[in-house]
């Protein structure tokens, strides 16, 4: 990772990291049902720091996914995640989106419909990327591609190790 030239953005804006979720008495109570909420989705995704590439791609302190951009409706079985690439031309946007989608598919009950897209107005080719991410067939096809799956898995591995 030497040589500053390869970093797409060497001095990015940083944001305070949200602290650990506080445990409440309800969490320990066997009889209380905890609904799946925004924060829980955020926690599933956080710590998700792919270092497998030789550039630091995204990082939660760099605010790729903010808590406010996660919308969950436990009753209606829907999850929506909006992510913001650090710079408008980020070449990895599709990959980031795909990784988020795969992570959620593996981590949420089947009843949920998962929608992942780029925050409006933050990426040059946002429509194209959103369309790819929304298309079930294309996502499935992408995951058939072992090279692509390998890259996605590497993102998720570093998540497991650092998270």
């Amino acid at each position: 990772m030497s040589g500053g030239a390869r970093l797409e953005n060497a001095n990015p804006l940083i944001f305070q990291r949200t602290g650990e979720r506080l445990q409440t008495a309800n969490d320990e109570d066997e009889d209380v049902a905890d609904p799946i909420d925004d924060r829980e989705i955020f926690d599933i995704l956080s710590g998700y720091i792919p270092r497998a590439f030789n550039v630091i791609l995204i990082n939660f302190e760099l605010n790729v996914v903010e808590q406010v951009r996660v919308r969950v409706d436990d009753q209606e079985n829907t999850v929506g995640v909006e992510f913001t690439p650090t710079i408008p031309h980020c070449s990895m946007a599709t990959l980031i989106g795909l990784s988020i989608k795969v992570k959620l598919l593996r981590s949420l009950p089947e009843r949920f419909k998962i929608d992942v897209h780029i925050t409006p107005g933050t990426h040059a080719s946002e429509d194209a990327v959103n369309k790819q991410l929304a298309d079930k067939e294309r996502v499935a096809a992408a995951l058939e591609n072992s090279q692509l799956l390998e890259v996605v898995n590497q993102c998720l591995i570093s998540n497991a190790r650092t998270g």
């Binding site: 990772m1 030497s2 040589g3 500053g4 970093l7 060497a10 001095n11 990015p12 804006l13 940083i14 944001f15 305070q16 969490d27 320990e28 066997e30 049902a33 905890d34 799946i36 829980e40 926690d43 599933i44 270092r51 630091i56 992570k103 593996r106 981590s107 949420l108 009950p109 089947e110 009843r111 072992s146 090279q147 799956l149 390998e150 890259v151 996605v152 898995n153 590497q154 998720l156 591995i157 998540n159 497991a160």
Partner: protein, 1026 residues
């Protein structure tokens, strides 16, 4: 003599022609015994040494060398001289002879009578006639050993050789590859550098021949036969490279180059080497490379992804700055330190003005590293950046930015290395720093408050920075925060800060904080009328709670203890008399806080007196009053079991920790109170004269008998050097109480007290007969199925067993065997099984090291190894419905064993543990899972053969009704994903399917475990996965 020479000829013949290696030793023995001389040996060898066959000559030299290795101490100077001349000459001979020649020379260099000048001639012929790197490993090592030996014994002669010696060494080392020899070579090079040998024009060559190994990357072979580590090599090489400033011009460019490397360990090694040489170098060596070094260091800290590299980089910068700070200024030269700091400031300072951007942090760390290096540096850096940081803080309005700035400031307030005379570099900014801290304390942002509390703590550590008026202001702020701030994290930080400040400025706290807190604790509750809402009452309780915690935190100096503890005692008194409206939790919290004070206060005579003469008598007195009051009027909270249990640690911590002499006095007072009803030391003792606390009485005597727990706190925690009076009588009465009383808390406390005393009694006949008697009594009660006190007897048995087990007493086996036999008891079986958990765990209030109990190390392992077979046997022979007791006991015992022991014992126990997983008892399931989980992290092969059963049973438990069991089983499944891939792949689909269910679990904590586990299993066998 003739016989000797005949013998010698025989030996030589057998060695050289007969190829019998053992004859060399015989010859050496003969020589030592004086049967023949070395001259005779050479004469006898003559023919062979002059043979035309190189093999024969080699054999001859070998015999001579082997003998010399044994006998080099017995030679005369003349003999050595001749032998050396011979050996030097032989170096020119055939190559098969060389190894033996070197061995002989090595032996000769060890002679104490080495003739003058011979060292030089040895080396000359070595360097001239031998090409070291074409020799085998052992011979090369031989050469290095000769060099080392000669450098030790003939240093001055070698120095006379001048640079030729260095040149010779360089030539022999050039190309060495074996780590063992490298270690030797590095040591020689280090001696050359440190010993003041003339490097002449070969400085660069010596550097080249060693630095070519830098940075070292070495991983020892798997079974590590030589015990050489990468660390050893790195340190040996570093000692060479950083040994002399004359290497600077070569080393520094090399370091700059290696810092560009992609390998992290190379970077770290380079940075550490830089740190090491900065302590040897002066400015003139560094000057030329400073810009380059700074550029590399800055890059490493700005862009690194690794903390190791970052901290090594900061350490190197600090060392560099310290090195430049040491340089002496000439009148005509510029100030080098200033030049360097200008460089650093130019690159870092402006980043501090952008508190939103990432580089603010590395910049701050770099500047902090330079300013910790020396007083001058800290002065310069502080003068450059403090005004702008302060100004920015005051002009920015966003909390996040202010917090960042304050955190940066905090780094600079941290201790600056300065001698006593130097005034603090921050003195000029004292005023502004204080006002920033105080303004931040009154902000509304938790993060900002917490940071400012840390800065305040740091400021207070430098005495000149806080004036008395500032301290008072700080105490006011802290008090206000304690009373008003509801955020838990801020409260914690406030309490910490108050504790730190109170250590240094007790007076301000005594005069300002303690009275305010006291007032608040006793302020009449507004919640008296019915207009008050529940939430108001809640918040008032929370305020009181914070006040109590703060009181405990500031009480470390005796003077504060004297002021704060009366407040706490007053709470107890007024809750007893019913004048204050204190809840049960508050009373318990008071006790906890008293204990905290006893734990952290300085152990001085004054503190000791407060606790032993005031607090303990007061606690005992109040408890006694409460017990005597009976159930007539409104009950005092001090008869509650939870309150008494909270008082016990106050007493036991005091007796264990504070002033053992006073503790002895307290113990004897307590004993006479409980045995004889002597109340003379209790305050306000208006009690009926006849009380017998340990005697069973009619009616609700439990209020009095349960006070035995306070006696336990007192006598069971004394240091072992302190004697307890009337021991025998005391033990007798305790046994009686524990076997006859029917109030559970009373008889358990009595049993614990008895056990605590037994644990500390000196071994001997008295103790043995005491235990025998007790065991008989217990057995009688237990064997009588109709006895009404079987539970009592069992409790006593359990505690005494623990007391003896801890100290390895031989009689403990009798007691634990009794416990094992109870596992199949229909009435006591279940509690007996749970008893094993108590036996293995650390008890909170008695029989632990804090109570000065006699606890041997590894008593758990010992117990396990002695008893596991009994347990397995018992399980196998038990009736089916009684098996679960054994499983429970087993899982309790295994659970407390260290992991290493678990791993070795697991194969034998695995069938039982798997059995335990399908046992319906949830407690058994839970404790088995939690004992399996760490073992699964590093699976032994025994587990792999049982994989089918393990996976199946664990998956079943993921749908258990108990949340904790679900969580524990998911953790085990997670751990299973680390097993060898080919073993677990067959289960992948099944596990993924089964884990979809807990993803939708009712409880979030279960879901999050399921998410982690399922994602790991997904990665298994997938491209890019594992």
């Amino acid at each position: 003599m003739a016989a000797g020479s005949a013998l010698l000829v025989g030996l030589v013949e057998e060695f050289v022609s007969g190829q019998q290696d053992s004859k060399a030793a015989d010859t050496a023995t003969g020589l030592k015994a004086g049967q023949f001389t070395i001259l005779q040996l050479v004469e006898a060898l003559g023919l062979h040494l002059a043979s035309s066959q190189p093999q024969t000559r080699a054999r001859g030299v070998q015999l001579l060398s082997n003998v010399l290795q044994q006998c080099h101490g017995d030679l005369t100077e003349r003999e050595v001289d001749v032998l050396l001349a011979f050996y030097e000459n032989r170096l020119k001979d055939h190559y098969v002879i060389t190894p033996h020649v070197l061995k002989g020379m090595k032996a000769l260099t060890k002679c104490s009578v080495l003739p003058p000048g011979s060292a030089v001639s040895i080396l000359k012929s070595l360097f001239q006639d031998v090409h070291v790197q074409s020799l085998m490993l052992v011979e090369r090592s031989c050469v290095y050993n000769i060099l080392t030996q000669l450098m030790e014994s003939r240093e001055s002669e070698l120095k006379g050789l001048g640079a030729d010696f260095v040149f010779g060494f360089v030539q022999s080392v050039d190309g060495e590859r074996d780590p063992r020899n490298l270690l030797l070579a590095f040591q020689i090079a280090r001696k050359i550098i440190h010993g003041g040998y003339d490097l002449g024009k070969f400085t660069e060559e010596l550097f080249e021949v060693t630095s070519c190994y830098f940075p070292i990357d070495f991983s020892p072979p798997p079974n590590d036969p030589h015990g050489i580590t990468q660390e050893e090599l790195i340190l040996a090489l570093r000692a060479v490279l950083t040994g002399t400033p004359r290497f600077a011009e070569f080393l520094l460019p090399l370091i700059i180059e290696k810092l560009d490397s992609d390998v992290q360990s190379a970077k770290v090694d380079s940075l550490q080497t830089l740190t090491a040489c900065a302590s040897v170098y002066e400015h003139k060596e560094l000057a030329e490379f400073l810009p380059g070094l700074w550029a590399s260091l800055r890059r490493e800290v700005f862009q690194t992804a690794s903390e190791r590299v970052e901290s090594a980089g900061l350490a190197a910068l600090s060392a560099l700055t310290a090195c430049i700070s040491r340089s002496v200024l000439n009148s005509d030269s510029e100030d080098y330190l200033n030049v360097f700091l200008d460089l650093v400031l130019k690159d870092c300072q402006h980043h501090l003005c952008e508190p939103d951007l990432k580089l603010v942090w590395p910049s701050a760390k770099l500047l902090q590293a330079t300013s910790t290096a020396s007083y001058r540096a800290s002065h310069r850096v502080a003068a450059a950046i403090m005004p702008s940081l302060i100004e920015q803080y005051n002009s920015r309005t966003q909390c996040a930015q202010r917090r960042t700035l304050l955190e940066v400031l905090q780094g600079f307030v941290q201790p600056v290395k300065s001698s006593e005379e130097d005034e603090s570099v921050l003195l000029d900014f004292r005023q502004s720093l204080c006002s920033i801290v105080f303004s931040a304390l009154s902000e509304n942002s938790a993060g900002l408050q917490i940071t400012s509390l840390r800065v305040l703590t740091a400021l207070s550590q430098q005495t000149v920075l806080l004036l008395e008026s500032d301290v008072e202001l700080a105490v006011d702020h802290l008090t206000k925060l304690i009373l008003e701030e509801e955020d838990a994290k801020v409260s914690l930080a406030v309490v910490e800060c108050a504790g730190a400040l109170a250590c240094l400025h007790p007076l301000a706290f005594i005069s300002k904080m303690v009275p305010r807190l006291k007032g608040e604790i006793f302020s009449e509750s507004m919640a008296q009328g019915d207009s008050a809402t529940l939430s108001q009452e809640h918040s008032q309780q929370a305020v009181r709670q914070r006040c109590l915690t703060a009181l405990a935190a500031v009480s470390s100096r005796p003077s504060v203890v004297q002021e704060s503890t009366p407040v706490l005692l007053q709470v107890l008194t007024s809750s007893h008399t019913g004048t204050g409206s204190f809840s049960l939790e508050e009373v318990i919290s008071v006790c906890h806080n008293l204990q905290r004070i006893a734990e952290h206060a300085q152990d001085t005579e004054e503190t000791g007196r407060v606790f032993h003469d005031i607090i303990i008598p007061r606690l005992l007195g109040l408890a006694l009053q409460a017990a005597m009051r009976g159930s007539s009027d409104h009950p005092s909270p001090l008869v509650e079991e939870s309150v008494l249990s909270a008082m016990v640690p106050v007493i036991s911590t005091t007796c264990a920790r504070l002033q053992s002499q006073l503790a002895g006095q307290t113990a004897s007072r307590a004993v006479s109170l409980f045995l004889d009803g002597d109340m003379s030391f209790l305050p306000e003792n208006a009690f009926p004269s006849q009380i017998q606390l340990l005697k069973k009485q009619a009616g609700d005597s439990w209020r009095q008998s349960q006070m035995v727990c306070l006696l336990m706190g007192c006598v069971c925690s004394l240091p072992r050097s302190v004697e307890v009076p009337q021991m025998d009588r005391l033990l007798l009465e305790l046994e009686e109480l524990s076997c006859t009383c029917d109030h559970p808390f009373s008889y358990t406390s009595a049993a614990k007290c008895y056990a605590g005393l037994v644990n500390k009694r000196p071994a001997g006949e008295a103790l043995d007969s005491l235990i025998d008697g007790t065991l008989k009594r217990i057995s009688t009660e237990l064997d009588c199925a109709s006895s009404s006190v079987r539970t009592q007897a069992f409790t006593l048995l359990l505690w005494v067993a623990k007391a003896l087990l801890l100290r390895y007493h031989p009689l403990s086996t009798a007691l634990t065997d009794k416990l094992f036999s109870l596992l199949s008891d229909s009435e006591l079986g279940s509690i007996a099984a749970d008893g094993f958990s108590l036996l293995m765990s650390d008890s909170q209030d008695v029989l632990n090291r804090g109570c000065n109990a006699d606890v041997r190390i590894m008593y758990r392992q010992r117990f396990f190894t002695e008893n596991s077979a009994k347990l397995v046997q018992g399980f196998n022979s038990a009736a089916p419905e009684k098996k679960s007791g054994y499983l429970k006991a087993l899982s309790h015992i295994v659970n407390y064993l260290p992991r290493q022991v678990q791993l070795t014992e697991l194969p034998a126990l695995l069938p039982l543990l798997l059995e335990a997983l399908s046992c319906p008892d949830q407690a058994v399931q839970l404790s088995t899972l939690s004992c399996l989980q760490p073992v699964l992290m590093d699976p032994p092969s025994a587990l792999i053969t049982q994989l089918e059963a393990l996976v199946g049973r664990t998956l079943t438990l993921t749908t258990s009704p108990a949340m904790k069991v679900r969580i524990a089983s998911l953790r085990c499944i997670h751990a299973l994903s680390r097993f060898p891939e080919h073993e677990i792949m067959p289960f992948r689909a099944r596990v993924l399917r089964a884990l979809a269910v807990p993803l939708d679990d009712l409880k979030r904590m279960v879901r999050s475990e399921a998410v982690v586990a399922r994602n790991e299993w997904f990665l298994l066998g997938s491209p890019g996965g594992r």
